[in-house]
Amino acid sequence: MADGLQQVKNWILERHPERQDIAPDLDLIENRLIDSLSFVEFVFLLEQESGVSIQMETLEVDAIRTLGAIERHFFATSGAEVAQA
């Protein structure tokens, strides 16, 4: 796992001490690991760790719905594929 992605995962785990781990395909929104109030903190962190500038107005929720999607959209080794409409 990329170091940046690990930081993102750690950030979520710190806020949900009841969880030991997060599966790559776990829906972060449905499972309330991220909601609209923590979302902004999450995006700022994602911007910092991935180096990708994120425009929240056009961000597709599916791009951040799971750790797997986050890895594909923001931490792909072929360069950052920006998940925006």
Partner: protein
């Protein structure tokens, strides 16, 4: 949204509504002709009252130096007006969705004034941002929540609006009186403060009634969940003032680091409490909050 239960209106509510509607008609002005917009605003002065800056009261305030602080005040003011633009945009969607709908028959007439005035506020705030900052900072709102019951949603919509208006009003009333700020900035803040005093008075009455209606419709456990959510919303709103994009525009190194440091800095809590003193007192008085302990997001 279609809730059939009528609002538990009181004589007091009807009197307040009639008085505020009358004042909206009497105080009506044309915002498009009200402001004189100079070509530019002076760069080498404060655009925001220094005590309202997000670094105020911390070591960063002393470290940054006057020139950076002035630059920061420009971008923090553009961020403040941008938050207003997006806040109004979102609240209008919610109020338009409820006007002339079951459950809102009584306040619908005032909603017309509210929607009209809020649209005009959104215009002059966006005008300020585009003229003097050449941009509006992006919205940080994201719909990523599980749905609440309709009565809770109704209560939350107007409570969020009220809190947002009260928070903004703390800044408006302070800057309207700050003679060290330029005329345009003082006027934008003064006029908004004047209109918002009506909206806040209305919001307090409506939220009190919606709270009663919600408490009758859902369990006590659910009401406690609503309180916990609202407390997180209060912190979220306060945190939206610490925008890393603003720090970057002001030329400050490690913008996200500064945001995180300020949010974690105990020296900021007293200043934040000052900004939210009035809505917090209202939430406690009405029982919406059982205590004034706020969470860390």
């Amino acid at each position: 949204m279609g809730v059939a239960a009528p609002l538990p209106v009181t004589d007091r509510f009807m009197e307040v509504l009639a008085r505020l509607s009358e004042r909206s008609v009497e105080d009506y002005y044309n915002p498009y002709q009200t402001f004189q917009w100079p070509e530019t605003l002076e760069e080498n002065r404060f655009w925001m009252t220094p005590e309202l800056l997000t670094v105020f009261g911390t070591e960063h305030y002393d470290r940054l130096g006057e020139e950076t602080l002035q630059r920061l005040s420009k971008w923090e003011s553009v961020n403040f007006y941008s938050l207003n633009v997006h806040g109004i945009r979102e609240l209008l969607i919610e109020v338009v969705g409820r006007i002339h709908m079951p459950g809102f028959e009584v306040p619908s007439d005032f909603f017309h004034h509210f929607i009209g005035e809020e649209n005009e506020h959104m215009w002059f705030f966006s005008e300020f941002c585009r003229r003097y900052g050449h941009k509006i900072y992006g919205s940080t709102a994201m719909r990523a929540d599980a749905a609440w019951e309709p009565e809770i949603e109704n209560f939350l919509v107007f409570t969020r609006i009220l809190f947002f208006e009260e928070l903004v009003d703390h800044y408006n009333s302070r800057m309207a009186k700050d003679t060290s700020l330029c005329h345009t900035i003082r006027e934008v803040n003064r006029i908004h403060h004047q209109d918002e005093s009506r909206h806040i008075a209305f919001g307090r009455e409506l939220v009190s009634l919606l709270y009663q209606r919600m408490c009758q419709a859902v369990s006590a456990e659910r009401v406690r969940e609503v309180e916990a959510y609202l407390k997180r919303y209060v912190v979220y709103s306060v945190n939206s003032l610490y925008n890393p994009h603003v720090y970057k525009d002001a030329g400050i190194a490690d913008p996200l680091g500064l945001r995180n440091a300020l949010i974690a800095d105990p020296a900021r809590r007293a200043h934040e409490r000052k900004a939210i003193r009035k809505p917090l007192a209202f939430f406690l008085k009405t029982g919406i909050f059982s205590d004034d302990v706020l969470p860390v997001l």
